[in-house]
């Protein structure tokens, strides 16, 4: 008893204070994946069965909804291309540093920490996929947390709402900076040390400020739910609700920030473009490409994108996409005119890639884009 107690205490101290056990731990983590997979099996089986018996009408309704959503998002994306371009130019005028584009990798949740007092999840991407310690994790609606433990094929993510987690944020409306700490409640964050007179009110969107150099700037974190001014307290009590669905999201995005300079990125993009052109010229005999290209701008953008994934970007090709710049959605006339890009003579479509980005458009994206591309003009 005594020996084992001393042994466990020593182990705990070593594990907490030094890094010597980390590699061993991460190797042992290999065993852990099949465990969580097995534990999750009944849930998966149930989901599979319910999918099988899902009625056709439900699926059709879902399909309709997704189509409508995709249409809306496409429309926003067209505006985004011009806005991004405008933003880059304005920033150049102001001589401030350029916006950094990020690449992302899609991960899937495979387990939740069984301890109800810690908010940690297990995801199916690990060191082999390029995941690193402290990497920010997003879902479709906002920041979720950061990677705290990397194992070969899995990693652990500490969520924003864990009591040990804090994130620097700023109010989107006026840039007021604050620190949002987790409370242990999955629906609540608290802003620490906000002065009573600070301009912050209910409904304000908090975005990550990028200070602290861990999270990328500008992603939504939470919306302010209530601001309590208590004259007995030195600071205002500000409570916020995370925008990300922390306890519901199954798919999440791991962000790799791209810290090349804009010139480098432009060069890389140009090179990738040239290579793609060469490839396309070689393949022109094949009819498949020429038949898809004239339909809209997007398929053409995807083709060089697929070529660029090998050269421009360090991480995986298939699962990556750029949130800020899916440039190709060309139907908006302003978007294509604004870009001083090297056009692709081989396919004959003008203005396919933005020079500042060099990262590939998601290969899956063009397919849905082909159908709604005729509709957006009616939307405007």
């Amino acid at each position: 008893m005594l020996v084992l107690t001393v042994l466990s205490v020593v182990l705990m101290v070593v594990d907490a204070r030094f890094d010597t056990l980390k590699p061993m731990r991460s190797q042992m983590g290999l065993v852990l994946t099949p465990f969580y997979w097995l534990a999750d099996l009944p849930v998966r089986a149930w989901e599979g069965i319910s999918d099988q018996f899902n009625s056709r009408s439900v699926l059709i309704a879902e399909n309709e909804k997704l189509k409508a959503e995709s249409l809306l998002l496409q429309r926003r994306l067209q505006k985004l291309a011009t806005l991004t371009e405008q933003n880059v130019r304005l920033r150049e005028l102001l001589n401030s540093s350029a916006l950094v584009d990020e690449k992302v990798l899609v991960g899937e949740l495979i387990g939740v920490d069984p301890n109800p007092f810690t908010h940690r999840i297990l995801i199916d991407k690990g060191g082999k996929d390029g995941v690193f310690l402290g990497q920010p994790v997003l879902d479709a609606r906002g920041l979720m947390g950061q990677v705290v433990e990397v194992m070969p094929y899995t990693s652990r993510v500490l969520l924003l709402t864990d009591t040990t987690h804090s994130i620097p944020v700023q109010v989107n409306r006026n840039g007021l900076r604050a620190i949002a700490s987790g409370t242990g409640n999955p629906e609540r964050l608290e802003l620490r040390h906000v002065a009573d007179t600070a301009d912050i009110k209910e409904g304000d969107l908090l975005v990550s400020s990028g200070l602290g150099q861990r999270f990328p700037a500008g992603y939504p974190v939470a919306t302010v739910k209530e601001v309590i001014h208590d004259s007995g307290q030195p600071f205002a009590i500000v409570r916020a609700v995370p925008t990300a669905a922390l306890n519901r999201s199954r798919y999440l995005l791991l962000v790799f920030s791209d810290n090349r300079s804009p010139e480098q990125r432009a060069n890389d993009a140009a090179q990738a473009q040239e290579e793609a052109d060469r490839k396309a010229a070689g393949q022109q005999a094949t009819p498949a490409e020429s038949s898809t290209a004239p339909a809209s701008g997007t398929p053409a953008a995807a083709a060089p994108g697929a070529g660029a994934s090998g050269t421009g970007t360090p991480a995986t090709g298939a699962a990556t996409s750029v949130p800020a710049a899916k440039p190709g959605a060309a139907p908006a006339p302003g978007a294509s005119a604004a870009k001083p890009t090297a056009s692709t003579p081989a396919t004959g479509v003008p203005a396919t890639g933005m020079p500042a980005t060099g990262t590939p458009a998601k290969p899956g994206a063009p397919k849905p884009a082909a159908t709604p591309s005729s509709k957006p003009p009616r939307d405007h």
Binding site: M1, L4, T5, L7, S8, V9, V10, L11, M12, V14, D15, A16, L21, R25, M28, G29, V31, L32, F35, Y36, L38, A39, D40, P42, V43, G111, V112, D113, P114, N115, P116, F117, T118, R120, L122, E149, R156, D162, T163, T164, G184, P186, N247
Partner: protein, 162 residues
């Protein structure tokens, strides 16, 4: 108990692995707060029934496995499970004679102590649960004890584990 040769030891380890699986199985969040201490329950039965087969070293190893699985500090659950085994071993002559509901009461105290130690260790590493509900798993585990006891006992007798 004629020959004390170890027999069918795999059953013990199989049930312990099953306990580990149960301890990470997904639960709805309102139930998660009262998740029974499966490894502790299964371990307590085997220690009580076959103290010569599974002792504190076994418990320690199981605890280490649990630590790796949970991603907690290495040695944290190992210490807790060793403590439970120690208490059960110290009491096992008496516990065996108790009626089942009395066993439940004693085990509730044992698990409660274990949860307290767990709380202290968690507090040292900085995440302290804000309320007293961390004691709920001890209560629920104690309530589950009669069923665990019956199932494992029948398993032991049927497979003649020794």
């Amino acid at each position: 108990m004629v020959g004390l040769r170890p027999r069918n030891g795999w059953v013990i380890w199989f049930t312990l692995v099953l306990a580990l699986l149960l301890s990470v199985a997904p639960l709805p969040s309102f139930m998660e707060i009262g998740r029974p201490l499966w490894p502790a329950l299964f371990l307590a039965y085997w220690v009580l029934a076959l103290p010569h087969r599974i002792g504190m070293t076994g418990a320690w190893l199981l605890g280490l496995a649990e630590d790796v699985l949970y991603g907690s500090l290495l040695g944290q659950n190992a210490l807790v499970l060793t403590l439970i085994t120690f208490l059960v071993l110290a009491l096992h002559q008496r516990l065996r004679l108790f009626p089942i509901w009395q066993q439940c009461l004693v085990l509730m105290v044992v698990f409660g102590i274990a949860q307290l130690v767990q709380l202290w260790l968690n507090a040292l590493t900085g995440n302290r649960p804000p309320t007293l509900v961390f004691l709920l798993p001890a209560l629920i585990s104690a309530l589950l004890w009669p069923w665990i006891f019956a199932v494992l006992r029948s398993l032991r007798l049927r497979l003649n584990v020794n």
